[in-house]
């Protein structure tokens, strides 16, 4: 596949991610911060996000598994996850976190467990999408092209 086509594919894919709400404007900001002096900025931040989130999701699963659930601790974890996801621009994950927080306040155990499942689901989805996106970028770079700048302005 030639570079132009790959680039177009990449652009379409990115747009679809925005349209479907997986990512929001914050992700674009991240991309803007990537330049020659900092070529892997986005990848670094995203992998940091993956590590952080997986750790947090594990902690959360443990917390909710206890006989006597410490809602405050769960809330603190979710707060972290929300912060991370909004810094990345992972919008759906962030929204799920918001819902989880309110359920935590209500101390509704069943709903919390269900919501946690949903958070995990969203997280894995966005992880998948981002990994696909990075795969595409690597292919473009390997073929000698450059990643086009997305000019969506809100």
């Amino acid at each position: 596949m030639e570079v132009g086509q790959m680039q177009r594919q990449w652009m379409d894919y990115t747009k679809s991610l925005f349209l479907e709400g997986y990512l929001d404007g914050q992700f674009l900001q991240l991309q803007q911060l990537q330049d020659d002096s900092n070529p892997d900025f986005v990848a670094e931040v995203v992998s940091l996000f993956f590590e952080d989130s997986e750790r947090l999701l594990n902690d959360l699963t443990n917390a909710l598994d206890q006989k006597c659930i410490d809602f405050k601790k769960a809330d603190a974890h979710i707060h972290q996850l929300k912060g991370s996801s909004s810094s990345i621009g992972a919008e759906r994950v962030k929204n799920c976190c918001i819902i989880f927080r309110s359920l935590c306040e209500e101390q509704n155990i069943d709903a919390c467990i269900r919501c946690l499942q949903q958070v995990k689901q969203e997280y894995f989805l966005v992880k998948n999408k981002l990994e696909t996106l990075f795969g595409m970028e690597q292919q473009i770079v390997a073929a000698g092209g450059s990643i086009p700048k997305m000019e969506l302005s809100f």
Binding site: K15, F18, L19, G21, D24, G25, Q26, Q29, L30, Q32, L33, D35, S37, N38, F41, E44, V45, L48, F49, D52, H79, Q80, G83, S84, S85, S86, S87, I88, L152, S153, F154
Partner: protein, 740 residues
């Protein structure tokens, strides 16, 4: 014949007689001598005998009599002349003294007798006094009883206790057989037997209230004796064989709160009385004494007062309970209202962000879509989507703005802006519509209008646009004329519609904008409703114009916030209408005229060297957002150090750092960190600026930041441009608080 016993005594025959006489005389003499001795002895003993000299006389008389009898002893036998002489002398003396005594006694005996009478009199008096004292003592005891009774009555505020105590105490004090209280019934026509002393449960006896005996009692405030046979006194069948005891009845006024005028004693002419009947025991011969009656009257009065106190207390307790209930209800209502307001604010806070984001996404993406290759049909569809979403976005903004305005939480920005440019922008925005509708639009700005003004540019633009837009919306043909002048007080002096006098000063001037259109006009009756939220006139011409009906309401609020007034005049349907508003704007200083606004419209004329090497410290405990913020600042050329906790931050921070970016969530230790950092650098002028980064649009966060002395607050998400502007502003002014 004298008693000279010279005649030959015939001794044997009269010797016995002689002997007896002899002995008798001897004894007589003895007695006569001993009597005075006794007298003297006893008189000496008593000190009060007043007639001592009488005693002496009497004594002398007796002694002489005794002497005579003694001398008589010698005369039984033949005796000498001396004896006879002595005898005669004695007798003479005796005679003298006796006669003197007899004469004396005539005077003395009445005296002595009167002493006796006086003595008797005094004894009687003493007995009488004793009796009196007995009576007084009884009275005093009764008085004490009354005081105690009153005390008992007054120490309780319960009606029943008062009445029962009265009856019991009265019964005890006066030793009554029966004591009863008749209360008027609700309808006021009968007296019902309510309390008795001896009977435990008085049967529901009732007598009509208009009996003559009852009237008699009620008409006087004294205790009145009634016949034991009267209906009020016949409480139980009379079983004794004696006549029934005397019965007394007294009225007890039942006072109401309204009887107590402020300056008068209670008026008893209201006529609501109860009747108290007291019966003495039937087998005693007692009668009602005056003091007992007085006691009864006093008690009746006291009872009346005590009852009224009890009634007053009941009333005030009831009022207090009512007030407390009302208080509780009010408190609950207030709390509910507060909860509702808080819920609404929370909702708005969330919606504020959550609603705008998808809206923007829709708008942006559809505008992007417009720029791609589309078929004509697709283009039409996309345009419709764009139009509808713009409308929706405006609607959302309007509603959110209005609720902020309602809250009073909306604060106007104040910055210097180009006034003429605002008008030009309005014109350019409205030109397309105007040309489509083939209307003529003209703008006149008066020559003395300053070029720059200080105020809220965005909201002024919104207001002018709304008013002009309305004029355009409601005009199907003709012209629209917009005039902008500096308002003068003279032109308002005649204006009786408003009490508004714009008085310009050195710092402010009043901008007056008038928009005249020749459109469909407004019925003068509808004019007051124009500025009401959601109210639209129902005429046919306006029904298809659309809009939420909020525009003018929002304009009015903006104009009021800007210290001005807005009003609309119209001569009627079809005669066009004129909308005018006046707002207060500030006059900028010369030095501020060229100040660039924070939100620069043309990004690009700044170099990264502005921030080259600027040492900043980023503190955030979330790894991801920390690296994002760091990346942002690195991109702008700063020299970034990071800290992931408050302790680390305090350790690392030094005076070389110019700015510290601190992520604040709701945890309090962030604020403490700010305080401690300030303390650390208190003496230095080159301490780092502390700026809070938060995604929370809560006003409380902002207030807390200001309170602990932070130098700034910015809202996440931060774009590169935004961060650039923030750094510029911070370095220039050393403070930046973004409006929340």
């Amino acid at each position: 014949m004298e008693l000279c016993n010279c005649i030959d005594p015939q001794w044997p025959a009269e010797e016995l007689l002689m002997r007896y006489q002899y002995i008798s005389d001897f004894f007589i003499a003895l007695a006569y001598f001993s009597i005075p001795l006794e007298l003297i002895y006893f008189v000496k003993k008593s000190a009060v005998f007043p007639y001592k000299w009488v005693l002496v006389q009497f004594g002398a008389f007796i002694v002489l009599c005794g002497a005579t009898h003694l001398i008589n002893l010698w005369t039984f036998t033949p005796h000498s002349r001396t004896v006879a002489v002595v005898m005669t002398t004695a007798k003479v003396f005796t005679a003298v003294v006796s006669c003197a005594t007899a004469l004396m006694l005539v005077h003395i005996i009445p005296d002595l007798l009167s002493v006796k009478t006086r003595e008797l009199f005094l004894k009687n008096k003493a007995a009488e006094l004793d009796r009196e004292m007995g009576r007084i003592r009884t009275q005093e005891e009764t008085g004490r009883h009354v005081r105690m009774l009153t005390h008992e009555i007054r120490s309780t505020l319960d009606r029943h206790t008062i009445l029962k105590t009265t009856l019991i105490e009265l019964g005890r004090t006066l030793a009554l057989e029966e004591c009863a209280l008749w209360m008027p019934t609700r309808n006021g026509l009968e007296l019902q037997l309510s309390y008795t002393l001896r009977q435990q449960n008085p049967v529901g006896y009732a007598v009509p209230i208009h009996l003559p005996v009852i009237n008699q009692v009620f008409s006087s405030n004294h205790a009145v004796k009634v016949s034991p046979n009267s209906p009020v006194a016949r409480l139980r069948p009379h079983a004794g064989k004696y006549a029934a005891g005397e019965v007394v009845a007294v009225r007890v006024p039942l006072l109401h709160l309204s009887n107590f005028q402020i300056y008068d004693w209670p008026e008893v002419s209201t006529g609501n009385y109860a009747l108290m009947v007291l019966m003495l025991p039937s087998d005693s011969a007692r009668h009602w004494h005056v003091h007992e009656l007085e006691l009864v009257e006093v008690v009746a009065d006291q009872v009346a007062v005590a009852l009224s106190h009890a009634a007053i207390l009941e009333e005030s307790m009831r009022a207090r309970d009512l007030l407390m209930e009302q208080n509780v209800a009010l408190d609950m209502a207030r709390r509910e209202a507060e909860t509702a307001i808080r819920a609404r604010n929370d909702f708005l806070a969330v919606m504020n962000h959550e609603m705008r984001t998808p809206m923007h996404a829709i708008i942006v993406l559809s505008s992007l879509l417009q720029e791609t290759e589309l078929t004509a049909q697709q283009r039409l569809m996309v345009e419709t989507i764009l139009k509808s979403s713009n409308l929706l976005s405006t609607l959302i903004n309007d509603v959110l703005d209005l609720s902020q305005l309602e809250d009073g939480s909306l604060q106007l920005d104040a910055s210097t802006f180009n006034l003429h440019a605002v008008f030009r922008e309005v014109l350019s925005l409205i030109k397309p519509v105007v040309s489509v509708k083939k209307l003529a639009l003209s703008l006149h700005i008066s020559p003395d209008m300053p070029m720059y003004a200080v105020g809220d540019e965005k909201r002024l633009l919104q207001t002018i646009l709304n008013v002009v837009g309305n004029a355009v919306k409601f005009s199907k043909e003709g012209s629209i004329c917009v005039t902008a002048v500096v308002a003068k007080p003279e032109s308002f002096r005649d204006n009786r519609v408003l009490e508004f006098l714009p008085v310009p000063s050195d710092n402010h001037f009043y901008l007056q904008v008038q928009v005249k259109d020749s459109g469909s006009g407004i019925n003068p009756q509808d004019i007051p409703n124009l500025f009401t939220k959601f109210a639209q006139c129902q005429s046919l011409t306006t029904r298809n114009a659309g809009g939420s009906g909020l525009g003018l309401a929002i304009c009015k609020r903006f104009v009021n916030l800007m210290g001005g007034q807005i009003w609309i005049e119209s001569e009627g349907i079809g005669k066009g209408c004129t909308a005018t508003f006046v707002v207060k704007l500030g006059i900028p200083d010369r030095s501020n005229e060229s100040k660039p606004s924070l939100v620069t419209k043309n990004p690009g004329n700044h170099s990264l060297t502005d921030f080259a090497g600027l040492k900043v410290l980023v503190m955030d405990d979330n790894g991801v957002s920390r690296s994002v913020t760091k990346g942002l600042l690195v991109h702008l050329g700063c020299d970034v150090t990071t800290a992931s906790s408050s302790e680390e931050c305090l350790r690392i921070v030094s005076h070389e750092h110019k700015v510290v970016f601190m992520d604040v969530c709701t945890s309090i230790d962030r604020y403490e960190l700010a305080v401690r950092m300030r303390e650390k650098f208190m003496k230095r002028h080159d301490r780092p600026l502390i700026v809070a980064l938060t995604g929370n649009t809560n006003k409380l966060v902002k207030e807390n930041c200001i309170r602990v002395g932070m130098d700034g607050l910015i809202l996440k998400p931060v774009s590169v441009e935004k961060m650039r502007g923030v750094l510029l502003e911070l370095l220039e002014h050393r403070v930046l608080f973004e409006t929340v």
